[in-house]
Subunit: 301 residues, 2 copies
């Protein structure tokens, strides 16, 4: 099966980047897109995020070989119901959501007769909306597919090929395992970042102006991810609750033991942890998942 | 009083950057440097981090108008004792340490007759050692001076002028207040980053390879600061214990209430916090303390 027409539902950072990436790397594929916000549709048309911006999800979905939902995970089911009647039966249904068990359930409820292969490209920036996307977002980033049991191998191969053509590295994973892995590498880091930015702005002894002025000491790295889209992240935490709470439990245990080490003046315990964590950074850079330049090449003044 | 000769004790990221910045912006000042590690001294001489690399701290300090300790805060007192006899009585004594009450005490114990003005340039990268420094490190970054009560105003003005000439913005602050502000904007973010990187590498269900592969989901930002110098950071936590434990207590309270919100499915509480934290990011960028480009201009592939 070959993909000739792709429908993209939701034209924010992910949906927009997807449209631009297809146009750049697979120009023969026709893209149609829809967003529930008329202003986003307008801007998507101006930027040419997809070949055709449609006024209804059904219009975007009709004749599609592949539909990809790029909306917050809590909005997937409603979005899928809206186009269910119009979507050709042969179409593959996928998404870009950050939790996979809940999405699989939501899409299966809305589109029980279609081939559903949830997907998660592990890529993003702190920006959101139709102006945020760019064609290289997925380049050299991992895209995790979580096909349900019994799905046709051919459809999985087609979707894998599609993401690889966009420059992504593809991995197949069990959805429950995905949800734990991403709780660690994405959800908990975001939760912690949101929390510390909130804590800092609520302190009585330290003004917000001071927090901002002296943010180069480390805090600013947290503000970047704490500037991510609030609706998207609210939905992630509500939809990956169990894995998030499990990993959070481990994190708070570890934090308590560091707290105790500081209280007791146990320098060796601190030094051991601080040494161990350097090696992971090195591997991330070696594998091309981050930039080795100090400050990632932040601007000098 | 004018500064003609500066002694830099410790030639890692901060000391090396200081030497390079002086050479670039105040080339008339003569710099002499010392590091306890002979390999660092060798490399410092090769890179020309200071005009003269000395084999003893006393040699570097003799004839200095200003000595700046760029060693971990736990090593300040011993380093100061080593050069006490050689340091001219008119010399101003300062440092670049990340906690200020403990440093003030350590330097005063070692050099009771000198004018001591502790300082903290809030700038750095995750790198350390004599190859890490660069001349622009302090440019448009804040440098906080914490002069003790009763110190000569003229000496404070001289040190302020010195840092401003290096491109820094200077603020005068009470040392106890400094220690709380930096606990929030620097120490706790580092502690949290070290913790989550440790938690991630200890999970049984998720391999270290998976953590590295999918780090672009947010985790990689934490690994950068968790790659910072272990000795420096051990000393910071041991020397700013009270402020760190106080802010950490607030953070864990806030984290518990988010945990509860997730458990109870309270989307509104999550959304409210996630919206609030965006504004702080905006201010940090407006004030030039971070780079607005997505991913700070990380390399595309």
């Amino acid at each position: 099966m070959s993909i000739e027409r792709v429908a993209i539902i939701g034209l924010g950072l992910l949906g927009g980047s997807l449209g631009l990436a297809i146009a750049e790397r697979m120009p023969k594929i026709a893209t149609a897109g829809y967003d529930a916000d008329p202003n986003v549709r307008l801007r998507a048309a101006e930027r040419g995020l997809v070949d055709r911006v449609c006024d209804t999800p059904a219009e975007a979905a009709s004749r599609a070989d592949l539909v990809i939902f790029c909306v917050p995970v809590g909005a997937m089911e409603a979005a899928a119901i809206e186009l269910a009647a119009a979507l050709p039966t042969h179409a593959i249904v996928s998404d870009v959501g950050s939790s996979k068990q809940s999405v699989a359930k939501a899409l299966a409820a809305a589109l029980p007769k279609h081939t559903i292969i949830p997907a998660h490209p592990v890529a993003g920036t702190e920006r959101s909306g139709p102006d945020a996307g760019f064609a290289n977002l997925f380049s050299h980033r991992w895209c995790i597919l979580t096909p349900p049991e019994g799905v046709e191998a051919q459809a999985v191969a087609t979707l894998r090929q599609f993401w690889e053509s966009l420059g992504a590295l593809v991995e197949i994973m069990d959805p429950a395992h995905h949800d734990v892995v991403l709780a660690v590498t994405s959800h908990i880091p975001h939760l912690i970042a949101y929390t510390i930015v909130g804590t800092a702005s609520d302190l009585e002894d330290v003004t917000q102006g001071e927090v901002i002025k002296y943010s180069a000491g480390g805090f600013r790295d947290f503000t970047r991810i704490a500037a991510s889209d609030p609706v998207m992240w609210r939905d992630v935490f509500l939809n990956n609750r169990e894995a998030v709470l499990e990993v959070l439990g481990r994190f708070t245990e570890d934090l308590s033991s560091l707290q105790r080490a500081i209280r007791n003046g146990d320098g060796d315990a601190l030094f051991d942890l601080f040494t161990r964590t350097r090696a992971i950074r090195r591997s991330i850079i070696e594998q091309g998942q981050d930039d080795a330049r100090p400050d990632f090449g932040r601007k000098d003044h």
